[in-house]
């Protein structure tokens, strides 16, 4: 598993177009903003299906949930190295003060995205979606500054 995830990181780094090794602080800020937007875009695609506003497509739900899972967990944690706060960043210093909890929530986000992917065909999909969304909110409540 470890070898596979290391391989995955290299492939991912290459596919990002040269963002190899440790990126500079400014890049990290841009990267995590982009990552969060990508997760948000998937959520925007999922929401109408769980409200019955667009036809429910289990394959699409699974694909979106998996796309989120790939961007959660360790991927989030590595994009929040200490000392990368900026004035225009809404990240709170509590991230680094309570790093273990922050990291655990990133892990939980991935876990719940995988649960949603696995539940996409079943009756539990709506509940799994709700629990996933709650994880986004829990982290944003404790670790993100409200908009100015």
């Amino acid at each position: 598993m470890r070898a596979r995830s290391a391989f995955g990181s290299i492939v991912l780094a290459l596919s990002l177009g040269g963002g190899l090794a440790l990126p500079a602080a400014a890049d990290v800020f841009e990267q995590r903003s982009a990552l969060m937007k990508e997760i948000g875009d998937q959520m925007r695609g999922l929401a109408p299906m769980f409200r019955g506003e667009s036809p429910y497509d289990a394959a699409d739900v699974r694909a979106r949930a998996e796309a989120i899972a790939e961007r959660a967990g360790e991927r989030i944690a590595t994009l929040f190295p200490e000392g990368t706060l900026r004035d225009d960043s809404r990240a709170l210093p509590t991230i680094w003060e309570e790093w273990e909890r922050f990291e655990a929530l990133s892990g939980l986000l991935e876990e719940r995205a995988r649960t949603l992917a696995a539940a996409a065909d079943g009756d539990d999909a709506r509940r799994a979606f709700g629990e996933f969304a709650n994880t986004c909110r829990n982290c944003h409540t404790d670790f993100r500054r409200p908009e100015d």
Partner: protein
């Protein structure tokens, strides 16, 4: 600059003392007590009213005993803490009667007639229905009693003078309960009740006047002075607010914290979702959306 500041503070003092004094002399803020004698309380319904009224976020500190007191709230008028509302007889409200509880919620009066600061949103709770108050009380009596230290509110002069709150109530406290608006649907009226009564949305989303009352001409238009100085967005049904949202968008925001753009709510609204709105029925969330979107 110093001179003008002194002048402003002096002017504020004269006005506050004047309004407060007038209120005090006129027996202001004396909201008539509710006659709740004939009503039986249902604790199970009361557990739901607790969520409707958003009590938990201010009366429970993270990691602390449930309802045994909250974290400090910074406001323009002082630093406040939600006290212990468990039935502990020494430090909670275990020695209270239903009538005293009702007076606290709807008239901002503590046992013995002491005025509460409107950080307890009694100007909103004043609209609560009798049955909701009775049920909430029945529930609170079943909560595990927890002991907590006394709560000192840190309020600088002149607001430290509680009798002045009689004047504040004269200006800002409208006795309830909520009366349904005819010509509007049942859902709209339920939503209006939830938003403006127990839900007390306007306590943060409506800007305040210099006296700390809700500026009713700017209902739900957002505020730059939310708790802890947080900027609170407008939730009016127009371009500035949530005019472009669908009812479903609003339900997901209140139930899950999920925003229409895929982002997630956080900050103090994240706490509101966690402790209050996520516990509400779909029917009530839809009623809130119906009212806020003006449908």
């Amino acid at each position: 600059v110093v001179g003008s500041l002194t002048l402003r503070v002096g002017l504020l003092l004269v006005l506050v003392l004047g309004v407060g004094g007038a209120g005090f002399l006129m027996g202001g803020g004396q909201v008539p007590p509710r006659d709740l004698g004939g009503l039986a309380g249902d604790p199970e319904r009361g557990a739901y009213v607790l969520r409707m009224a958003g009590c938990v976020a201010c009366h429970t500190e993270s990691g602390g005993a449930f309802l045994a007191g909250g974290a400090p709230i910074e406001t323009d008028f002082g630093r406040f803490r939600g006290p212990n509302i468990t039935p502990d007889r020494e430090t909670g409200i275990g020695g209270w009667t239903l009538e005293q509880f009702s007076a606290a919620l709807t008239a901002g009066l503590g046992p013995g007639g002491r005025h509460y600061y409107p950080v307890l949103p009694y100007a909103s709770y004043a609209a609560m229905h009798d049955q909701d108050i009775v049920d909430l009380w029945a529930y609170l009596e079943t909560v595990e009693p927890a002991s907590a230290g006394p709560v000192d509110q840190e309020v600088p002069f002149p607001f430290s003078m509680r009798p002045l709150l009689a004047g504040w109530k004269l200006l800002h406290l409208e006795p309830g309960p909520y009366r349904a608006v005819s010509g509007r649907s049942e859902a709209w009226n339920r939503g209006a009740y939830l938003v403006n009564g127990p839900g007390h949305c306007g306590e943060c989303h409506t800007p305040r006047t210099w006296l700390g009352g809700l500026d009713r001409d700017r209902h739900l238009q957002g505020s730059s002075a939310g708790p802890g100085g947080e900027r609170i967005p407008p939730i009016t049904a127009d371009e500035a607010g949530i005019g472009g949202w669908s009812k479903g968008d609003l339900v997901f925001a209140l139930e899950l914290g999920l925003m229409p753009d895929g982002d997630s709510l956080g900050g103090s609204m994240g706490e509101v979702v966690e402790h209050a709105t996520s516990h509400l029925t779909l029917e009530d969330l839809e009623a809130i959306a119906t009212y806020l979107l003006g449908e």
